[in-house]
């Protein structure tokens, strides 16, 4: 089901299909803080954990093994990116461990070998529910953070098209609507993850917020972000400005940009939001979504960037539970907008990864049943969860 057009095909040929890096799965893989040798030793510890905590060095050897994310990185890189169940697991085990898996390894490989002279390539991670797409994306984000890229991480685009309390009419464009709360939260997280860039990048235009406040040309981007955070009313506009500036300046070569959008099918789906007169709102009427769409578009302006997106059925609105293909979830419009892209399928665990996950749980004393150690117990778990990481996690979870 790979829908590659001719243009992307040529790109593919240039990319070197060498080693594959696998990113972590969505299951709260146990956090392994061991510092064992990653050499292939037959002890169970080596099966489930590896000491390489730099994603750049992950290769095929580490496939199926968990690597540790240090706590510092966790705070800076992932203020808002991890799925909630994983966050709970991190808190329980007191360490953050992701499993290195094939799809993520593949994606990292592509990222390492891109030619930045060409415009941005788009990657879409897709797969059935609970197979580990979000954590794969987080693995990629961690890698890029380590490589000192600027990360534009949208944790869940679905959060902006539903359950929004206050919608204001946009100050910039009367037909669009603002979402002040979500925008200000996002700006805060953006600031946490990209502190050092905010002072380096300079704004190239003058922006007038209201009668009293304005941002001069040449002032650092951090100012805009501050403005957005303090003046909540203008937060969405601040976000729009940030996105615009980043698009413009990515080609200069000062920084590499990673646009990671989770739940990209929300940008082209439907919303559950309504105006006061109960008429439904289309996504493009939300300023946030509108700007994001521009970001993800494959214009020839955008260089030195990568756009990694992920489809999600979990938060999606008005889509059947079994839909997981890009065409089903994105719809006509979205598909055309994102086309051409490189799809990466994330599937269930293979037996080795499954073993590794169970080992990890056992090491952390998470599985308390007497039969959990035995062959029979593992077979039962395999059957019941069908090697689906999400299901396995739910099975092993507390009550």
């Amino acid at each position: 089901m790979l829908l590659l057009t001719a243009g992307v095909f040529s790109l593919l040929h240039k990319l070197d299909r060498g080693r594959f890096l696998h990113t972590g799965t969505q299951t709260p893989q146990t956090i392994a803080a061991h510092l064992d040798n990653p050499a292939p030793v037959e002890s169970p510890r080596a099966i489930s954990r590896t000491s390489e905590s730099d994603p750049a060095k992950h290769g095929e050897q580490q496939e199926g093994q968990h690597y540790n994310i240090p706590h510092q990185d966790l705070k800076t890189v992932f203020p808002h990116g991890l799925p909630p169940r994983f966050v709970m697991q991190v808190k329980t085990f007191n360490e953050a461990c992701l499993m290195v898996r094939k799809p993520a390894l593949e994606l990292l490989h592509y990222l390492k070998n891109t030619n930045f002279a060409h415009p941005a390539v788009r990657y879409i991670l897709y797969g059935e529910k609970g197979t580990g797409k979000t954590l794969s994306l987080c693995h990629v984000v961690h890698f890029c953070a380590k490589q000192d890229w600027l990360i534009l991480h949208v944790p869940d685009a679905h959060r902006w098209v539903k359950n929004c309390r206050d919608l204001l009419q946009s100050t910039y464009n009367k037909q669009r609507l603002d979402q002040p709360l979500e925008a200000s939260t996002w700006l805060k997280n953006f600031r946490t993850s990209n502190e050092r860039f905010l002072s380096q990048i300079k704004v190239q235009e003058k922006y007038v917020w209201n009668k009293r406040e304005s941002t001069e040309k040449g002032s650092p981007l951090g100012d805009v972000v501050e403005q957005g955070i303090t003046r909540v009313r203008n937060a969405t506009d601040a976000v729009g400005i940030v996105l615009k500036e980043l698009r413009r300046q990515s080609s200069c070569g000062i920084f590499h940009l990673l646009v990671a959008v989770d739940g990209v099918n929300a940008l082209w789906g439907r919303t559950t939001l309504k105006r006061e007169d109960k008429s439904p709102i289309a996504p493009e009427e939300l300023a946030f979504i509108y700007n994001l769409r521009k970001m993800v578009k494959n214009d020839w302006i955008l260089f030195n960037t990568h756009i990694c997106t992920k489809l999600g059925q979990t938060g999606s609105l008005f889509k059947p539970r079994t839909a997981y293909m890009p065409q089903e979830l994105l719809g006509e419009e979205g598909f055309n907008a994102l086309d051409p892209f490189i799809p990466i399928l994330v599937s269930n665990y293979n037996p080795k990864e499954f073993q590794s996950c169970i080992q990890y749980y056992l090491e952390n004393n998470w599985l308390q049943h007497e039969k959990a150690h035995t062959e029979g117990g593992m077979k039962e778990l395999l059957f019941l969860s069908n090697a689906n990481p999400g299901q396995l996690e739910r099975l092993c979870a507390y009550l």
């Binding site: 077979k379 059957f383 019941l384 969860s385």
Partner: protein, 396 residues
Amino acid sequence: MAAPCVFCGPAIASRFFLGGRVTLAQGQGIWKPAAAELQAGTRSQILRLKHLTVVKTKKNVAASRPEKYTVDFIKKQIEEFNIGKRHLANMMGEDPETFTQEDIDRAIVYLFPSGLFEKQARPSMKHPDYIFPKQSAIQWGEDGRPFHFLFYTGKQSYYSLMHEAYGKFLDAEKRQNQLQAKDLQMEKTKTKDPIVSRWLIKEELEGMLAEKLSDRDYTRFIQLVERFSTLQCGAAEEEFLRRFRRSVTIQSKKQLTERLQYDEQGRAFSTSEGKRKSAKAEVVVYEHGNGKIKVNGVDHLLYFPVTQDREQLMFPFHFLDRLGKHDVNCTVSGGGRSAQAGAIRLATARALCSFVTEDEVEWMRQAGLLTTDPRVRERKKPGQEGARRKFTWKKR
């Protein structure tokens, strides 16, 4: 005045009885109202005669004592039944000589189709032995003296049986003592049936004796017969005791095992069906698989998102320790999610019988994997809100 006769009918119709529980004799020919009074009046005088059924002066008076039929009456009923059977065979165009009870039933269902739900309320034609309850015939002679010497105990057949059994028991004991005294004991060869047998239960004994028994009577009888059977006794006594034993059928022999079939690649597979509530499932289990299950073309994880349903699917395999060894392909329809899971479980258990030894089939049967769950949704009754729930009770 004489009550209107409710039971008159033509002679032929008298052979057909509604249900098997009729206790009142109807086939006495044409009943004349005038004769009722005559009968009632002369009852006391004809007491010594073998009299017929109790005369009913009023319509709804319950009989004061149970109806008694004479032996002649029963014989006449049997003759009429046989004649009617031959007539019926002629009507249906079949051979009267070889007309069995099943044929009679089929003919009646064909000639008198009934839409009644209660099976026993439909028309039927059965041998008088089934229709008239087994009662003892009239027990006394013309002079009023009862025939049996134990008549006045009230339960003459029971006490006579006990008397006879005890007599035989004493004889057997005496013989055994004699043999012991002469040191000619024979080894007591216990020839128990290989198939397990049991004593009669109380209802069966009551049926045999045509009398009501109390629990104590039954217990005493069983004690006597048990003691008797421990003694060494000859062939006649064994025969006597065997009358009171019934064999117990072994359930597991009834389980049908499917044959294994082989597909093009030589892989063995077996098919079977299962039902639960209103869900029907048909399952094909392949050998040498890796534990994949496909339901209606979809993976079982997607089809049954609830863990409980997947546990039901897992149960047969887990029980036989064959978790990752078979591939399953099934189609299911009807019912809800839980019913469908139960139906698939039953079907897989039945299909697995053909891959597995007889012992394991017996264990599965005892675990309840091979039994269709008979629970169905109970009907809602009028005057109630649901099957059991009544309407809210209001005091006023």
